[in-house]
Assembly symmetry: D2
Homo-oligomer: 153 residues x 4
């Protein structure tokens, strides 16, 4: 079995999940008639934006509270290729962490429900001087506290 | 013969010209194994940026003088398709105008020197309140005066 | 008033229309915080694909009948800029023609219903040897005849 | 110190290296005025294509020998953001493997020579029926044998 991208500690709350749909566009398909691998980060972003908006921790929400959240790591595992016009669902899964980072996981499924790709993204949290927050900034900590208290699910 | 994209009046100075090279990338090629039409605006932009930088009238130069130069019109005529790895030259041609706009024309040629596509772009000039300049803003007028005086070619 | 992109002759049937929705994505927005102009051809393509699929004259439908339909001309007029997350509708309008080409027009509107951009696309019809059809190929003519007979609207 | 992306066994030949230059384009930069993370896979691809072409193991070379080489994994670690017009070098590093896969590593450096990002790509080798090769296909094995014999460096 595949090793999990992120480890859940015993007292971490359940991950937060969201799902978006998307159809493979003509210009996303390459000469081999499959979706070009470089577009999957864009698929992930769709789910991340939907999920972070729902919980009020989107780029702009964080920015308004003096937090930059640039991407530190992107990882994609490709399993089944996707074709032109194929309808996909992208599941975004936000994993709880007490660090100053946002850990998210993604599962792309084709119409038959087969997993087409999986992956993860790690975002750091920086202050406006581009310095890493050593502990979670207040705005984000508040969100995590709610999450841990079961008030988000 | 093709109608010219821009009319040159008798006393207009000669256009300014620049040339850039580029190779068709894997992800720019579609299922039909030709460069996807939507990427040609990016090819044009390469030549426009090179040309406007050379003459000190790039986006950022203008912006520093309180001038926004958003794109008003893009037009592309496709002639010969381009393939993966094909090396192209993109010629940018800046046409003189006394209006508050930037008129530029483009010719994309393949390695054999055949014209693969032509087109044009019109940019407006706006002040920081997004209002059209009724006459050429001073910074741009100075550039046009030099051009007309034959000091740029 | 703006000149129409395509002229309707007295006995041409009414254009065929379709509408798709789309949201401006993070990666489509540039440093000036507006959708980069090069992405509008992709917006147009969304509407074109929806419209041509509905009437059975999509790329692949034509291809299956020995017809290639590469793009000959793209034209975009930009009116109001679009921002991150802005929801747009893209109206595609297929204009009747008795030539071996497909003439389509596009109107992009923002959420307030304002026209953000307009434009048009011309596709040629070629046979598999990349030769222009001098008269409409049978498959496409059948579609046009139905259209003219009022059986499509 | 960072863990290496790929482990070199004692008797593996030295990796093969190649370098390409590229400049950050206007449309690659996002609202935060840095190159959007999703474009880095395209930066990697530039180096991969240059490197694999040089050694005759590009997509099309493999394809001509009945080998498909789809991407199995992409991983990017972002270190220093890249700005509009910034000139970067992308170093591609091909790691020796006796498996039916291609392991490549990438280092993107900015003009000051600082590492802006690192990452890796794994490609599988499939036959035309999309079945994994259990052992290296002959064409690729020949390339690996030359490499091991020191005839490529």
């Amino acid at each position: 079995m595949k090793k999990p991208y992120f480890k859940k500690r015993a007292d971490d709350p359940e991950p937060l999940r969201g799902m978006v749909k998307r159809q493979i566009r003509f210009e996303e398909v390459d000469m081999l008639k499959i979706a070009w691998h470089g577009h999957y980060t864009s698929f992930f972003e769709d789910a991340r934006i939907q999920l972070s908006d729902r919980y009020g921790i989107g780029y702009m929400d964080l920015y308004a509270h003096g937090i930059l959240a640039p991407i530190k790591t992107v990882h994609v595992d490709f399993i089944t290729p996707l074709r032109f016009k194929e309808e996909i669902t992208i599941e975004g899964i936000l994993h709880y962490s007490e660090a100053s980072r946002i850990n998210s996981e993604y599962i792309i499924r084709n119409k038959k429900g087969q997993t087409a790709a999986t992956g993860y993204v790690v975002q750091m949290m920086l202050n406006p001087d581009f310095e890493l927050f050593l502990t979670q900034p207040a705005f984000f900590k508040k969100f995590c506290d709610k999450w841990k208290a079961g008030k988000l699910l």
